[in-house]
Symmetry: C2
Subunit: 351 residues, 2 copies
């Protein structure tokens, strides 16, 4: 591989379904959710320095979190923290970083990897990135698709087609289409085809190819992003006018229809910790002393207080200094609605 590889870490999103562990001021990616001793952002960093030089890693995050990102990643130079004035979803974030990187290295291959996912097998991750880089050298935008562990309705899906016949990337296939989060029936049908994988938002491409798609499909956005590389002082004034759009809609879906998207399979265990059920899957039962009678519970505490649970199955108890949450695994996705209820009560300070 002749081109250098640059990693972009979009570090955004509050992780509302993990409230009250995650807060607006301490979003999910800054948290050590599984007791590993490293935050999700730090674990993402640890994974990426296995596949590229630390000097080629960029983080795009909100201005409010830039200092925390720098504090957690002391090896990350200040000039590689791109601080967004306001969230605009993934396309402006990744496109901005791509533009900055393209100025530094016009031949760069870039990969985007969310800051809030857990991947436990680094060699398998490195192999997926290696094959994705091969596809990127052939001018594809290549996604890494996660093998479904079940008919989840919580993820978008990638439908793969023909093998691309790229000798050093024997598993790279064309992407036929992307599908939004499906209903349960559709999810089961997807699983049955064997051709569908979960869209984990991991994209690898030449920076120039990504920018080319942007110029063609979203010329105004591309112009804004590229102008900042020359005149960074204009960013604050123009950022607010950017559309909020995900890379999936902005590029992945239309380019897939043109045959320009590839996919390689992830053979590693992957967890986006989308709710407390997913967190419970990763963790032992309780991180504090507990008594659980007549049932089962996942207990996550930041206070250290002992917890007693009696007579509940699959209970989830989240104990923090200023808010307490009790629910069950079956209702874990409803935590987001609870945060909305607190906002309506005028208690946005809790969020």
């Amino acid at each position: 591989m002749t081109s250098s590889f640059y990693a972009i870490i979009p570090a955004g999103g509050a992780g509302t379904r993990l409230w009250p562990l995650s807060r607006a001021t301490r979003p999910k990616f800054l948290l050590d959710l599984d007791g590993s001793g490293r935050s999700l952002l730090q674990r993402t960093w640890d994974r990426l320095i296995e596949v590229t030089d630390p000097s080629r890693i960029f983080v795009v995050t909100g201005q409010d979190h830039a200092d925390a990102v720098r504090a957690q990643l002391p090896e990350l130079g200040d000039d590689r923290v791109l601080a967004e004035p306001a969230p605009r979803d993934s396309m402006p974030a990744i496109g901005w970083a791509a533009s900055v990187i393209a100025r530094l290295d016009p031949d760069a291959i870039i990969g985007s990897f969310a800051a809030d996912q857990i991947i436990d097998d680094s060699p398998a991750f490195a192999e997926a990135v290696r094959q994705a880089r091969i596809a990127a050298e052939a001018d594809y935008v290549c996604t890494i698709g996660v093998s479904p562990s079940g008919p989840s309705t919580a993820f978008g899906y990638i439908e793969s087609g023909d093998n691309l016949g790229l000798a050093p990337a024997p598993e790279a296939r064309a992407v036929v289409r992307f599908a939004e989060k499906p209903d349960a029936t559709t999810a089961a049908a997807f699983l049955a085809t064997g051709r569908h994988s979960w869209n984990a938002g991991m994209f690898v491409s030449k920076a120039s190819v990504l920018i080319g798609h942007l110029r063609r499909l979203h010329p105004d956005l591309a112009a804004s992003l590229e102008s900042w590389a020359d005149e960074p002082e204009r960013l604050d004034a123009t950022w607010a006018r950017l559309p909020a759009i995900a890379i999936d809609h902005a590029i992945a879906e239309p380019v897939a229809a043109e045959g320009g998207i590839a996919t390689v399979p992830a053979t590693f265990a992957w967890n986006d910790i989308g709710d407390f059920g997913a967190l419970a899957d990763l963790s032992s039962g309780a991180n504090v002393e507990s008594v659980v009678l007549d049932g089962s519970a996942f207990i996550s505490s930041t206070t250290g207080r002992p917890v007693t649970v009696i007579g509940l199955e699959d209970a989830i108890v989240v104990d923090t200094g200023d808010a307490l949450l009790v629910t069950t695994r079956a209702h874990a996705q409803r935590v987001k609605q609870a945060t909305e209820a607190w906002r309506e009560k005028g208690r946005a300070d809790l969020l």
Copy 2:
């Protein structure tokens, strides 16, 4: 009525089923459980000063709680706090107070009223006490029986017989027998008779009559109790040898068989707050800000932290500074087992 009426408040029992609200150092009777602004002990006092002079109220409590009792009841003179060196159930407590009162007033009529019950209708309580005093004047030991609101298995029962024909106490009846906490079938059968009431441990009698029964049925105990009235300094040395025995077994059951027990009906609402289900019946849903989605919850907090509950029916959440309990109404009686589990884990400090 010619004889003066003295009230005895046995203030003992930890209220283990209300842990972690109740603790060894802050037992149930010292707590304001229903947010009334007064503890159960204070409410008992408030009720009793409607039926007798404050100078005729005595509290029997553990030595560890005597200071707290005095602090909560500033009108209670020091000489009317009888501090037990160790718990010995209700007969030694009530018998000791009866002996002390009999020395002050040989004609005294005494009534014993537990410190940890809630009664909301003071006039109805006063009327029950009035009729019980009539029966006591006729040398009965008279209990006040609570009308069952359902076939509870949590209480002992009183089976009444013939009306005693005491003109000023038209509802006073003989007690045929006392029954221990029944199983569900027996409880339903009791309810069907219309002759069974709950034994709330309220007994009214002449002090001399109670002491007479004690001398006859438990002469050693009677001798110890009476000796202290003369030589209070001997109490510490001899208390440890007392049997732990409830007044129900020591006097009520055998004397009922002899025809010496009467009962008058309580027409007031009564709640002994035996577990968090009973407490939930008394209280509004939460004493802190809360969001409850897809279910229902009773939330009792001493920390003031906002609580979120999702997807549970009849949940019970008890939030204190050093311990958190989550259960459901159906499992409320199991709280006692949970405290035992903490003791086995070496965390008696939590109890």
